[in-house]
Amino acid sequence: MIRVVLVDDHELFRAGVRNELAGLVEIVGEAGSVAEAAPVVRELDPDVVLLDVHLPDGGGEGVIAAVAQERPGVKFLALSVSDAAEDVIGVIRAGARGYVTKTISRDELADAIRRVADGDAVFSPRLAGFVLDAFRTGEPLAADAELETLTPREREVLQLIARGYLYKEIAARLHLSVKTIEAHVSSVLRKLQLSTRHELTRWAQERRLV
């Protein structure tokens, strides 16, 4: 079973998630802050860390920054109620492989954890909207055009995710395989993390100042 560490500053929410995921994944550890999370993740070396975007002492980015180097095998999935695009984009740029909202259903969450553990990217409709928005505005800083823009196909895939289509529905609609759709989403994730676009950089900087 997939081993998961849960990082959220709300005890009640952690209890709820633990209950919901019982039997689907194994919750091996929990933490309520960046300071608590880093040693827990280092020691338990889980498959996936479910990570709240907002933590009292630095946010999800802080956890990723603290442990990603030593535990490169650990995948991070951001889980949040936050509507603020820059917060979500900040965590993704720090290295999270996906973002889902806390209103997600039990089965969808378990599925998202499985996909992240397999190395796929998990984009909720909301994240897809944020990403389209981020790549639409702001000037590229570097001349690396490949990294700075989405291909028409990637845009199309993201738009369909934002419209609420599942990967297999997108695949059917675009006459592509699900694997190809996953490859497009992973490519978008990579661009998101490596891009120097003005807007993304500004967001990241603002986050770091908080």
């Binding site: 936050s82 509507d83 639409r136 738009q159 934002a162 609420g164 289509y165």
Partner: protein, 357 residues
């Protein structure tokens, strides 16, 4: 009393005299001999080094800060004297410093009973000013106005400072009151509703969701009330439908624009489409995606519900034709509805727009 970092030293356990030099050396991470050398050199400057040593000793023993400050002042005067600054000037400056210190610590209040050392402080300061100016000043004409100005300054500065502080306090209190009122109107009301409807999970979920949106829009967004941009207006419409029809709507947006008349019509058409999905599709989740491009705005409303065949919808049901299709046509846009029984429905609303300069 706050301590200056350098002064936060512990006297050395292995003292030569009283352990002051060793302690400072340890706190500054330098060799004790160097510190001792500095003190020895300063001792040649009118005995300032010895006085400084005494002051630091009094300070580090913890219970004699006033004594330490007095010795420190004397040490400074000795040092200035050794540097060739005339003795009267030094004495005057010392008196002024002492007076200001006294005022700042004990006398800086115009409230009754506020400052027990107010008059001695003023007297000391003025005496210092007189001594100093008497020596420096070429003419005595400077002394009286100067002393008066100094006295006025000393009276005014704490008073202005206090006024500013009180004003800041008032602003903070007003902010607190506004926050309390807002939380009462929203969060507390919702919690009351949640308690009343505790046995109706969908209703509780919808209440919690709407409250969450409202609170978040207030915290991070453009505030409560009438939306002024397209994305905010759409978010409001979504929240209303969620509450009224107990549906779960996932809203994603890319881009935004000022809300004008055609965009208002687009929001209303989208709202109707969401209501339709909530009422008829019996879908557990509705997805809404809006994309604002320079030349067009698209809104997609999708559900995974029952779906329908257009030909079976009664002609008396005007929602689709009037509220969505005609509204879009009148606004200069179009509506496309894709649906089949069992396969869900997607309503696509498209509105061309002028590129803004």
């Amino acid at each position: 009393m706050t301590q200056i970092p350098v002064l936060a030293f512990e006297r050395s356990d292995d003292p030569v005299v009283a352990g002051v030099c060793g302690g400072i050396a340890q706190s500054l991470r330098v060799d004790a001999t160097l510190v001792r050398l500095v003190f020895a050199l300063l001792a040649l400057a009118g005995g300032a080094g010895i006085l400084l040593y005494l002051a630091l000793w009094a300070w580090s023993s913890g219970r004699r800060p006033v004594l330490a400050i007095v010795i420190l002042v004397v040490a400074t005067m000795a040092l200035l004297g050794a540097l060739g600054v005339p003795g009267t000037t030094v004495l005057g400056a010392g008196l002024v410093v002492g007076g200001v210190f006294l005022l700042a610590r004990r006398g800086a209040s115009l409230r009754p009973g506020g400052g027990s050392f107010f008059i001695p402080g003023i007297a000391l300061t003025m005496a210092g000013a007189v001594v100093m100016l008497d020596h420096i000043g070429k003419s005595r004409a400077v002394v009286a106005p100067g002393a008066l100005a100094g006295a006025l300054l000393l009276l005014m500065v704490p008073w202005v400072w206090q006024l500013a502080r009180e004003r800041g306090e008032r602003i903070r209190l007003a902010e607190r009151a506004a926050i309390a009122a807002r939380i009462h109107d929203s969060v507390l009301q919702t919690l009351a509703l949640v308690q009343r409807d505790a046995d109706d999970p969908p209703r509780v979920r919808a209440l919690a969701r709407r409250q969450e949106r409202e609170l978040r829009r207030w915290l991070y967004g453009s505030g409560f009330g009438t939306a002024t941009t397209f994305a905010d207006a759409l978010a409001e419409a979504v929240a209303e439908v969620e509450e009224a029809h107990l549906a779960r709507v996932e809203l994603a947006t890319s881009g935004d624009a000022e809300l004008d008349e055609p965009l208002t019509q687009l929001v209303l058409a989208a709202r109707e489409a969401i209501v339709n999905a909530a009422k008829h599709a019996r879908s557990d989740e509705i997805s809404v995606y809006a994309e604002v491009e320079p030349r067009r705005v698209d809104v997609f409303v999708r559900d995974r519900g029952a779906g329908f065949d257009r030909s079976t919808v009664g002609s008396d049901r005007r929602g689709l034709a009037d509220s969505i299709e005609r509204r879009m046509r009148d606004a200069g846009g179009s509506a496309t509805i894709t649906s089949a029984p069992g396969a869900g429905t997607e309503v696509e609303l498209s509105l061309p727009r002028e590129e803004e300069p």
